[in-house]
Amino acid sequence: MNRRRPGFVSALGLALVVLLVIWLVGNFVNSPSEFVNVLFIGLNYGAVYGLVALGYTIIYGILQLINFAHGDVFALSGLVSWTLLVSWLGITEDSAMLVTVAGILITLVVAMAFFAAVNAGIEFVAYRRLRSAPRLAALITAVGVSFIVQNVALAIYDVDFRSATGLIPRTDIFVAGGVSYQWNKLFVLLVTVPVLILLTWFVRATRQGKAMRATAQDRDAAAMMGINVNRTISISFALAGALAASAGLLYLLSFNMRYDTGFELGLIAFTAAVLGGIGNLTGALLGAFTIGLIQAFNEGLTWYTPGSDWTRSIVFGILIAILVFRPEGLLGERTPEGA
């Protein structure tokens, strides 16, 4: 626990934190209502990043594999959701509210189930045989699967952007002293929160969830307890795929997306998972909301703010800074390979 850092680096870190706090407080004082509005946007970014980051962290936790294909699975799931929702169910901005909500829920369930199967299939075809191979082999395979999924998306959907941003109205739920909150923002949380509650229940309380935790902590010991390790790993991939699909639909309802959207978003979500301590579910969410808020503050605030051109530099700069001080991430445990 007692790791001494050179005084200079510590001072620098402290200075950065102080600067960040001054900047946030300054902005809050400058315009409290703007600050709160931007915070709401950050929560939504964080929710989408979090759903994707959980997939990275679940798979890393159980296989110590960075599943580079995960971001592309997310993007493809958003595009498939577009097909379901807009092409097949024919939901438009003019659809009645109940029809729209029902259509979105059906799409959500179908997409989650479908991408659960897709992701479990990816594991079965691409990763299972490599489980006892050197870790680099699986990693390179993951990069390959990433390209394959991305190009499948390109082949089906071409380079055009798809979106369904108008389906959830942007009308205000409440306005109070310059602070306002819209339905489309609330909707993201209305989907995310139950999904997270279900996930937590699954991992903590169910037999399969416990098998997942046991397998992540010691795969051989799990097998000796009579846990079917292959099935447990399949279920973990299914879970990650379903989470990615829920994020894909939410993204589609808020932004434009196309075949390569998953590349950058996947990297950010992966960063969130590392920031929180990879392998740790709560950590992935903490990292995701941290990054989501930083992004929103940087793009939305006005008092001495670098602006959106700097978002990536700031996000990854913070990643580097945190990893210098806590290589295991915010909530991560120090492991032999991670320390």
Binding site: R207, K210, A211, R213, A214, Q217, D218, D220, A221, A222, A223, M224, M225, G226, I227, N228, V229, E333
Partner: protein, 247 residues
Amino acid sequence: MSAAQTNGGGGVILRLEDVHTYYGAIHALKGISLDVREGEIVTLIGANGAGKSTTLRSINGLNHPRRGRIVFQGRDITNEPPHEVVKMGISQSPEGRKLFPRMTVRENLEMGAFQRRDRANFKEDVDRVYSLFPRLAERRNQNAGTMSGGEQQMCAIGRALMARPKLLLLDEPSMGLAPIFVEKIFEIVREINEQGTPILLVEQNALMALDAAERGYVMETGRIALADDAHALRQNEQVRKAYLGET
């Protein structure tokens, strides 16, 4: 000594016939044959790297033999996956304990019963483990990774018992423990056996192991070098020199 424990009295529950197992390219087991009978403690002793743990990994399905046969209660289990082997009634306390460090003692015990469907007797079995190891009862809500080595070993044995095994594999239960804990662990190993569970005991502490066991096998570089009654092995000149530290 009860009837079930006399040598040759019980039927053979586990039999290995000419088992060859590889670790990657390394030929780790070069034709192992051994028996475990109902009610007995059989010990497998030998130097580091002789293949003791590999023998257990061959039995429990983590490392399937390339040649030979493993028969448990008349069924060929040579190529069964580990979870099926556990279901049939073989459970193990592995070398180095291998507890789930970020689960509580109670959750670890729960994982030991994973393959069992009779939830009703779960409580009863947890209580049995707690009465064997009162220390575990005190620590039930503590994460297993935070306990001392001796406590972890108790938890690992308790976890293996939760499967209600018909055969218990114990891999180096005394490794790294203080002498007082070693005594305690061997006492409990005998107690578990007296309650009716046959045990295959892998040990580096050959003296303690031969004291506890009815029969023993001595392994050397992937082969069985000697097989005899535990008492006879204790008297054996070679064994005394190589494993009991006598000159």
